[in-house]
């Protein structure tokens, strides 16, 4: 068997390295790669599932065309591409390039994705989406405060004396972080989880604090107030590195008593936690993404971030604020969250953009030109977009749709032409991470099955058919030019050699550890900005961190806050279709607290209808003490065929900053049904 080191290119913190062993170009075995210090043990259940996923009988390996009766038939690649080229050319000639919608999700990461952008630029532009469904509110909050989004290397967590996991559930979403948390615990660290749910992570904690959903900023600000009132701030650190502290301190009216009313957490607990955090010595606050998927998400992250800032915890080992670390994104001209702005830099003339978070309403507001062709890749908007009812109607109204995917997803099922997407072992690529510091090489270890061609080749063929002159200079390389293009793409950055990269993960020289150790902050003031003029200018929020009650979208009378977290067995809508995943995890269930279950006369296994003014879905309940009274939990990304469709209940609404999606403000009610 041949051995390679590779990397998982999914939208996941861990971005694991692992060793693969191939026979005849087919991966037969997956083993851990200890050289990645962030992920030294095995990959997660999804990583293992590549053994099934890439060779699954359900994988799409031929182009498909939809018949008038709705079924698909196999067609040749040439035929598929010439139909598409024809539709693209016609749309562009009649209505201009903006009549084509280019929608990309986060299903695959790698530099090869740039080729798509190069194609559409060469095409003359397109209508695209801006923003992001996941994390932009938090990214923008961190960027506004500290200038850049980065944190210490994951294994530095072991040096912390106190870890506050604030709304993050690494046991399910970043499982290798639990290694470093466990090491910290064995070194004597105290682990606190703040989460309305008792997550699997909370099982490993010393203390679990369960605030009402959406009220985390109030909790954080009250803690900051206690720290300031008791003189527990790091005054020297603040005077040297922080601006706006005086205004922050003097206007901070969130007392523990007030926060108790808002969050449901006793004032005494808030005081104890604040004092413990300030006195921890080495405090790392790890914030998740769920708590910033609210209308107050950005301000919530700014409020939480104020705690490590005023206690001088930024820029030191074992300390910090871990939201995301984009230090490995060294190839990007424009890093997130700036790249999520509607018209980032040079793209302005070429694209017309609509917000991802409000896709449905924005789509119907588009008039001139209307969308004639939709191209969807790396994503499954039917399951992932908030307000999916409207989003589906929007897509239905598009006369011609192309979906590139490995499987017949809910979105692919809507396509007129489905093009099979490459597998992760079928084209070389370079992948960064938003959690670990590594840049990683993903080798090609075998040829794609059937008539699968990599997306780079799909674009090159289309460019040729449309007469766009692809080639090395165009950024749309032919198969034999691809590796050269990849090398060229990364060669202008310094810090490592390609040969080194091909041997295993590389930490680029420019990686700063501890993050911000140089105390240089890329903000207008050059300091950490508790007061941010730009926050007010760009987003119209309070220039200081503040608590704004979460919007209820006019449905405050409905008893349940709906949360759609990520679970261990899938990355959003990916992996749930695989046999091995289904066998070991069972079907999705609606989790409800015991108190609410008693009130509604429900027991585990009962069928319920979940509804609000936007629609309804049906499913089964599981009664558990893991869920807080007043909330209802259903995993995100469940396909319609699996009993999903939950996003139709969710209001399409942007977060307060960063153009994120405020999923978790949604309120619903339920009733027991018999069928």
């Amino acid at each position: 068997m041949k051995e390679f080191v590779t990397v998982c290119p999914r939208n996941c913190y861990s971005t694991c390295s692992f060793r693969i062993f191939t026979e005849g170009g087919r991966v037969k075995r997956i083993l851990p790669f200890e050289g990645n210090l962030a992920t030294p043990e095995g990959p997660c259940i999804k990583g293992l599932a590549y053994l099934e996923r890439e060779y699954s009988a359900d994988r799409l390996i031929y182009p498909l065309r939809k018949q008038p009766d709705g079924s698909f038939i196999r067609i040749g690649t040439d035929e598929a591409l010439s139909i598409i080229a024809d539709r693209l050319t016609t749309a562009r000639a009649k209505h201009g390039p903006h009549s084509v919608l280019f929608y990309k999700g986060s299903g695959y990461s790698g530099l090869s994705n740039d080729i798509a952008g190069n194609f559409w630029r060469l095409f003359g532009g397109a209508t695209t989406t801006y923003g992001n469904l996941c994390w932009p509110a938090g990214l923008e909050a961190v960027r506004l405060t500290m200038g850049e989004v980065k944190h210490n290397v994951p294994w530095d967590l072991a040096n912390a004396s106190m870890i506050i996991l604030w709304g993050k559930n690494p046991a399910e979403t970043n499982v290798q972080e639990m290694i470093h948390i466990d090491r910290a615990k064995k070194n004597g660290a105290r682990v606190v989880v703040i989460d309305p749910r008792r997550t699997l992570t909370a099982d490993k904690a010393d203390l679990l604090i369960r605030p009402r959903p959406g009220t985390d900023a109030a909790l954080a600000l009250a803690m900051a107030r206690v720290i300031i009132d008791r003189g527990l701030t790091d005054k020297e650190y603040i005077s040297r590195n922080v601006t706006g502290f005086e205004k922050f301190a003097s206007s901070l009216d969130m007392t523990p008593d007030k926060a108790q009313m808002i969050t449901g957490i006793p004032a005494s607990t808030i005081i104890d936690l604040a004092v413990a955090a300030a006195g921890a010595g080495r405090l790392t606050v790890v914030a998740g993404y769920g708590l910033q998927r609210y209308t107050n998400g950005g301000q919530t992250i700014r409020s939480i971030l104020s705690i490590p800032v005023i206690t001088g915890m930024i820029g030191r080992p074992g300390c910090g604020f871990n939201f995301a670390s984009l230090q490995s994104y060294i190839f990007d001209d424009l890093k997130e969250p700036l790249s999520y702005y509607p018209d980032p830099g040079s793209d302005k003339p070429f694209r017309r953009a609509i917000s991802m978070a409000t896709f449905g309403p924005d789509f119907f507001a588009l008039k001139d030109p209307p969308i004639e062709v939709a191209w969807i890749e790396r994503g499954n908007p039917v399951t992932q977009l908030p307000g999916s009812g409207e989003a589906v109607k929007a897509l239905e109204s598009v006369p011609f749709k192309v979906v590139v995917d490995q499987f017949m997803t809910d979105t692919a099922a809507m396509a007129d032409i489905v093009l099979p997407a490459k597998g992760i072992f079928e084209q070389a690529d370079v992948v960064g991470s938003y959690w670990n510091p590594y840049i990683q090489y993903k080798p090609k270890v075998g040829d794609p099955p059937g008539e699968v061609i990599p997306e780079s080749e799909i674009y090159r063929c289309l460019a040729e058919l449309i007469g766009m002159n692809p080639g090395p200079g165009s950024g749309i390389p032919a198969p034999d030019e691809y590796e050269g293009w990849l090398i060229e793409r990364i060669s202008h950055t310094t810090g490592f050699m390609l040969e080194e990269l091909m041997r295993g993960p590389v930490i680029p020289d420019q990686n700063e550890h501890p993050a911000y150790a140089g105390m240089e902050f890329n903000t207008p003031s050059g300091k950490i900005e508790l007061w941010s003029d730009r926050a007010a200018e760009i987003w119209g929020v309070n220039p200081l961190p503040s608590y704004d009650p979460p919007d209820d979208y006019g449905e405050s009378h409905l008893p349940f806050r709906l949360m759609t977290p990520n679970i261990a067995s899938r990355i959003h809508s990916q992996f749930g279709n695989l046999g091995v995943i289904r066998h070991v995890t069972g079907g999705p269930a609606w989790e409800i607290s015991d108190a609410d279950a008693a009130r509604k006369g429900l027991k585990s296994g009962d069928r319920i209808r979940i509804f609000n003014s936007r629609g309804e879905v049906k499913g089964r309940v599981t009664v558990t003490a893991r869920v807080k009274e007043g909330s209802l939990i259903f995993p995100n990304g469940i396909w319609l065929s699996e009993g999903g469709g939950v996003n139709r209940l969710i209001e399409p609404r942007e977060t307060d900053m960063g153009h994120g999606a405020a999923f978790h403000n949604t309120r619903v009610d339920i009733e027991k049904i018999t069928l």
Partner: protein, 453 residues
């Protein structure tokens, strides 16, 4: 040195990667490695403990010693290896293993279980579950002595599992604020989590062939003994027919009936092999007794019958060592002798056995809390005892026949109850029962405390 798994509960986050890896590596059915969770609904009063387990490759593997078909071998490193090609799918190892390690694959008929990824072992690579674990909770350890303290809910039947459990003292029980420790409030969850009664009707349907098998043998043995004791050999064909029927039924119980002949290969240590040998011997005895009446001396017939009945019971005693089963009036030996006592003098023997049965039935009053099937069986058994006496008292032929019918119905019900009460140690049940006890203890304590304060 023996190889065994080391499992660190503090590191396990119940992600199931180990289970997936086992399936992907070995093509074995789901559940070959399983995740057991103590306090699955995370009730706040008690801790949550995860346990991933496949086979513990015990130093004294009852699966192997009890296997009638000699389908198991032990390799030099102590790995307990099951060979599907030698397996007849009787499922006896699934009874005797307290850890739920061997499992029948219903599609294939035979047993599947962990073999330490034998293929990988030849390449010097650790098992798939170990290399898959993303947090490092599962490791392979080599040791001469896996003796250490296991948690009290861990079924320990003295078979010396090659397993180290660590991190069990890890709290798994964060302080929760605001607490929802209100014991009344969590009642709904407790009910949902702990009311995991067995589906007894389903269990009986699964075991019907065994119940019929044993009832036929009990009847045959009783008839042979009665005729031997009375010296009257009429109806000699019937015991043989019953025995032949029992053998036919027993084959239908097997996952791989074509390998039924393997059942006698492990007389040295398998109670099931011994039972099958005795059943064959009794069948031959009954045949000889039919073809050549009076050829076999009555003491031999009685001895073979009694030994067969004992071998039947030993199969069950080997798997379920509880007092409940040993003192059960539905066991084969007792049932058959009880039937014999109906027909022989003096009547005091029958009265004595009836009293013993009554004691056993009273001891098992908890069966009245079972599902409907169990309740019907229990009341049939319980009511039959006094009613039989009331019916034989008038002494006319009609009531005598009714009494006999009722007597047989009661015994049949008792035999079926024996199957329901037969519960070999099982990790899932241990966890459930232990959790329920512990939870209720804690809840009562809290109630008391809140009452005092």
């Amino acid at each position: 040195m023996r190889k065994g798994f080391t499992f660190d509960a503090a590191r396990c986050v119940s992600c199931n990667a180990c289970n997936a890896a086992c399936m992907l590596e070995n093509g074995l059915q789901p559940g070959t490695r399983s995740l057991f969770v103590w306090n699955e609904a995370a009730l706040p009063l008690k801790n949550v403990i995860n346990l991933s387990m496949a086979c513990n490759h015990c130093e004294e593997p009852v699966c192997a010693s009890g296997c009638p078909a000699s389908a198991y071998t032990i390799d030099s490193g102590g790995a307990v290896i099951h060979h599907p090609e030698r397996c007849m799918g009787c499922g006896y190892c699934t009874w005797s293993c307290p850890y739920d390690a061997p499992k029948i694959n219903p599609a294939l008929g035979y047993i599947e279980k962990c073999h330490f990824c034998a293929g990988r072992a030849t390449e010097g690579i650790e098992p798939a579950c170990v290399t898959a674990c993303p947090t490092g909770a599962l490791k392979i350890t080599e040791s001469d002595n896996f003796d250490h303290t296991l948690p009290s809910w861990f079924p320990d039947t003295g078979i010396k599992p090659s397993l180290f459990l660590t991190g069990m003292d890890n709290p798994g029980k964060p302080e929760i604020i605001p607490s929802n420790n209100d014991p009344e409030e969590t009642n709904a969850v407790v009910a949902a989590v702990t009311d995991g009664r067995y589906d007894k009707t389903g269990k009986l349907k699964q075991e019907w062939s065994l119940a019929v098998f044993s009832l036929l043998i009990i009847a045959a043995a009783a008839m042979l003994i009665v005729s031997a004791v009375s010296g009257n050999n009429t109806g000699g064909l019937i015991p043989f027919l019953l025995m032949a029927g029992a053998l036919a039924v027993s084959v239908t119980h097997l996952g791989v009936p074509g390998k039924a002949w393997r059942a006698v290969l492990h007389v040295r240590s398998s109670p099931l092999s011994r039972e099958i040998v005795m059943v064959l011997l009794l069948t031959l005895t009954s045949m000889a007794n039919w073809l050549w009446p009076y050829l076999i001396p009555p003491p031999v017939i009685i001895t073979v019958s009694l030994l067969t009945l004992i071998s039947l019971d030993l199969v069950y005693f080997g798997a379920d060592r509880s007092v409940n089963i040993r003192l059960h009036s539905g066991q084969a030996f007792f049932t058959s002798i009880y039937a014999v006592s109906w027909f022989i003098e003096p009547g005091i023997i029958f009265i004595l056995f009836s009293m013993l049965a009554a004691i056993s039935v009273v001891r098992r009053y908890r069966s009245t809390e079972g599902d409907q099937a169990e309740r019907i069986l229990y009341f049939t058994r319980a009511m039959a005892l006094p009613l039989v006496f009331m019916l034989i008292y008038p002494g006319n032929p009609a009531t005598d026949i009714a009494a006999l019918a009722l007597f047989i119905a009661g015994m049949t019900a008792d035999r079926l109850l024996f199957y329901l009460d037969f519960n070999p140690p099982d990790i899932k049940r241990s966890i459930k029962e232990h959790f329920k006890t512990e939870y209720e203890k804690e809840r009562d304590k809290q109630r008391q405390d809140s009452g005092l304060s």
